[in-house]
Amino acid sequence: MSEYTVVGQTVARVDAVEKVTGAAQYGADIHPPGMLYGKIVRSKHAHANIRSIDTSEAEKLPGVRAIITQDDVPSGRRVFATDKVLYLGEPLAAVAATDPDIAEEAAERIKIDYEVLPVVQDVIEAIKPSAPRLHGDDTKDGPNRREISGQIRTLSRDKENDHSDEISKLEAELEAYPDEVYYNISAESHTEAGDVEKGFAASDVVVEDTYVIPRVHQTYMEPHVSVASADSSGKVTVWASTQGPFAIRSGIAGTLGIPLTQINVIGTTMGGGFGGRFGVIITHVPAVLLSQKTGRPVRVQMTREEEFTDGRPAPGCVIKLKTGATNDGQILAREALAFWDSGSVSGASIGSTIRVRGVYKIPNLKVDAYGVHTNKSGTAAYRAPGAPQAIFAGESQLDEIAERIGMDPVKFRLMNMREEGDAVPAGGSEPKVGYKETLEAVADAAGWWNREADENQGWGVAVGDWTNGCGPGGVYVSVHEDGSVRIFHGSMDITGTDTAISQIIAEILTVPYESVTIRRGDTDSAPYSTGSGGSVVTFTMGNTAKLAAEDAHRRILELASERLNTNVDDLELKDGAVHIISAEQPKSISLGELAAYSLSTTGGPIVGKGSFARQASTPALAAQIAKVEVDPGTGRTRVLKLVASQDVGFAINPMAVEGQIEGGTVQGYAWAMMEEMQYGEGGNINPGFVDYRVPTSADLPTVESVIVEVPAPNGPYGAKGVGEPPITPTLATMANAVKDAIGIRITELPIKPEKVVDALKSNGR
């Protein structure tokens, strides 16, 4: 029996009814009186100089109320492209009109004179001297030019390994790299521990390979949308579909030079985010500019096509990886060289390349990572940013080593996993994390130890680690005369975090979950709250909520002590009432009575305040096993079984946690098997759900989730972030299962039927 009554239980989400009935107000449901429709005018080329922008024809269209370009940005901060565009769909201007069709037609009528330039879409092409330079500057210390510091030429390909033609070509190009300099580099990151050369020399088995992971979109259901209203006093209100209203407030203030307190951001119910819903420029800033110019509220809403051409998806990546191990299964060294496709601006999560380290003791490690400019939109976070890519490489290669040395992949991983007290490279020592427990749990649940496979069937395992972030937040809780509890805060709920906060407060105040209600304020009213990304919310706001409830708890006992004429130490809050502990004649007073009494006291009503910013987080592990069957004729892969375990610390709401595990695993499956943003000379060529495939429920069996609870010291009730970890291992899980089924290692995602057929063919099958 759990010692808790509300946390640790599955309860209905606080927003279940409004979501199911359609009452929830999403961004596109906001329609203030007099609202105009905004439309962003976008580049029709992936790389071009802009000779001129002529808005005269569009201005003549009845119903057009404003057309803005970079000239209308008073701060001069870049919102629209002026003399050069770097990708298809890059914003050049924006229109506001009385009707969406008029806005669209006006956008079409704006004449843009382009001088089309050569395009580069591939990171390996982009680093070559022959590539078009996206950002001009080519001086020795300029932003585009980097001395090579990766060991590129000393990494020679392992010829025994199976490769697609594509990868072989790529590796040949990397090896034959003609220059001492990389071009179009946006950022770099280098890490070194121990001596990899020594580690490889001491290894019995060394495997190396090149892994290619495509750019994918977060594909949240609701496209970006904002409604802005600037009034005559200069006050700006923005209804924004965003993961971080406070970040949007400061972003708008910084970009447009508006005082912070003149901006109120109201977060609307969000149709998903996954890390992609933090951007400021994307729709919010154009909406504010258009509203300021017209004096009317303006809605700017992206279409699905605009999401694909000008969203901020997850970066694709090319990772060359080399691992050395001894015959008895000890990993000695690992070296990675990664090129991340950063698009037109910097920002790809290149630092995540370090995740090739995994949760293993690897004494010698070297990681060199570069962000590379290409003619694509910039990138942003997507559920554990950068980790799925790096872990795909790391965990794929572990299986290759396990195979060479003839060791079971699960045992090989268990043997190399870090343990509590081991030194960690960043300093300090490894905390207690359920690495082994989680892997063992998935192996047991999936039936790994006595697994069977028919012809063309295979099993794959992989693990992925991630640590939740942390950030500031504030919560108020008040108790009312009927005994009900009200919560007020400013953090956005995507995953059920309002439910978790409510559960925590109900637990501490010993009231039924149903008597708690939670309200989110806007940036004018609510205390500051960190953005809802990085798996922070339950960790941060859960801790904050605990503090607020404990504060209220203190006041409750104080009131009861006055009322019952008893020392606070002799009182106990239980089942929604304060009782005198061990009283001869039992005496108690309900929360409602205390709340009513509080209204006429000197100390005043019951209001608890919690505020919290930082505590060390604890890593989490996700471990997954898939069983697949590959049709060797058509190359189609069917998943027969998919089991996902995760160390969640403590599951405050088990069903919500399972939802996160299932959702993350399915997104990882999709990245492995079908999702891919495709690019041609002209830009993105699959900007819609016809040719950008996300799986449906028919593609997968039910994901079996297994919750493992090894408490995090600083988490509320031991909880740690659960949203991001489950996507991290799935790419490798799938590739490892396919390898087991057909005996061929696919290193370039997604594992489409054509790739499998070609791989089988080149292996003579």
């Binding site: 495939r693 489409k752 039927p753």
Partner: protein, 283 residues
């Protein structure tokens, strides 16, 4: 979407007269045309609904032959016992379209008239040797399905001509359809292959193979059909039929897959779909 005039005529003659005007489009289930209008790839000035015209929907059986009205929902084609039994490939093709929601809107006439080389009912109609009945203000005519298409999105239909029904003559004894795709449902065909066979005493007396998305129009693999006719269905013969069908198509490479992959899949799936059709013929 551009604004347009909307008509709901109650007679074919009226619909045909309106449809003969320039920049006119028909609305059947709307699952192709509305998408096109939203994307501005279709900008009709007049839209004429076929939904109020009586007699265009429904499946009727007359002896050995079956008639399917152009306005019949593909969901009805999928679930029809007669089609499932006698023209299995067509029922299977219908069941592959989009989702149940889409199939409850989409019509078989729209699927064919849209003339996508990847349409899922087309291979089944090809191997059923369907006749396409067409009406206009000038009267009626009928064309065999394999003469209907002239290119991607192109047919022999002239302004004002409306498909009224598909007539399927005496069925083959076994047929089957396979759609090559990535997703289980809601995916468009990378290629589609249907086969229909008649067996007599272990000999193939008739064979028809229909291919979708491997040429500018849906096609019959006639060389492969000829190879099969009059012979016993040995594995070697089926293999040869697959290779011959693959050699006879002219697929393109696009963002979905390469021409080479399409050609290989014609080979693999022709063999497979023949096998399934033969099993049904034997049953």
């Amino acid at each position: 979407m551009k604004s347009f005039e909307f008509y709901e005529p109650t007679t074919l003659a009226e619909a045909s007269r309106l449809f003969a005007e320039e920049h006119a489009q028909l609305l059947a289930g709307g699952t192709d045309i509305i998408i096109g209008m939203k994307a501005y790839t279709e900008t009709p000035e007049t839209v004429i609904s076929l939904q109020k015209i009586p007699g265009l929907a429904g499946i009727t059986t007359d002896g050995d032959s079956i008639s399917i009205g152009a306005m019949t929902k593909v969901r009805e084609v999928e679930l029809s016992g007669d089609i499932q039994q006698h023209h299995t490939a067509l029922a299977e093709g219908a069941s592959e379209i989009g989702s149940i929601q889409i199939r409850n809107l989409a019509t078989i006439g729209g699927n064919i008239a849209h003339a996508s080389p990847a349409a899922d009912t087309v291979a089944g109609l090809l191997v059923a040797d369907a006749q396409v009945d067409i009406a206009s203000a000038d009267g009626e005519r009928s064309v065999p399905i394999d003469e209907l298409f002239t290119g991607p999105g192109q047919t022999v239909l002239t302004p004002g001509e409306i498909i009224t029904r598909f007539r399927l003559p005496k069925p083959a004894s076994g047929s089957h359809y396979i759609k090559h795709k990535i997703r289980e449902v809601m995916d468009l065909a990378f290629i589609g292959v249907a086969a229909a066979v008649n067996l007599d005493n272990g000999t193939i007396t008739d064979a028809r193979i229909g291919l979708a998305a491997v040429a500018p129009t849906p096609i019959r693999a006639t060389a492969a059909e000829d190879l099969l006719k009059g012979n016993a269905p040995t594995p070697a013969l089926l293999e040869q039929a697959g290779e011959t069908a693959a050699a006879g198509c002219s697929p393109i490479s696009d963002l979905r897959c390469s021409a080479e992959h399409r050609r290989e899949m014609v080979d693999v799936l022709t063999r497979r779909t023949l096998q399934y059709a033969l099993e049904r013929a034997r049953a």
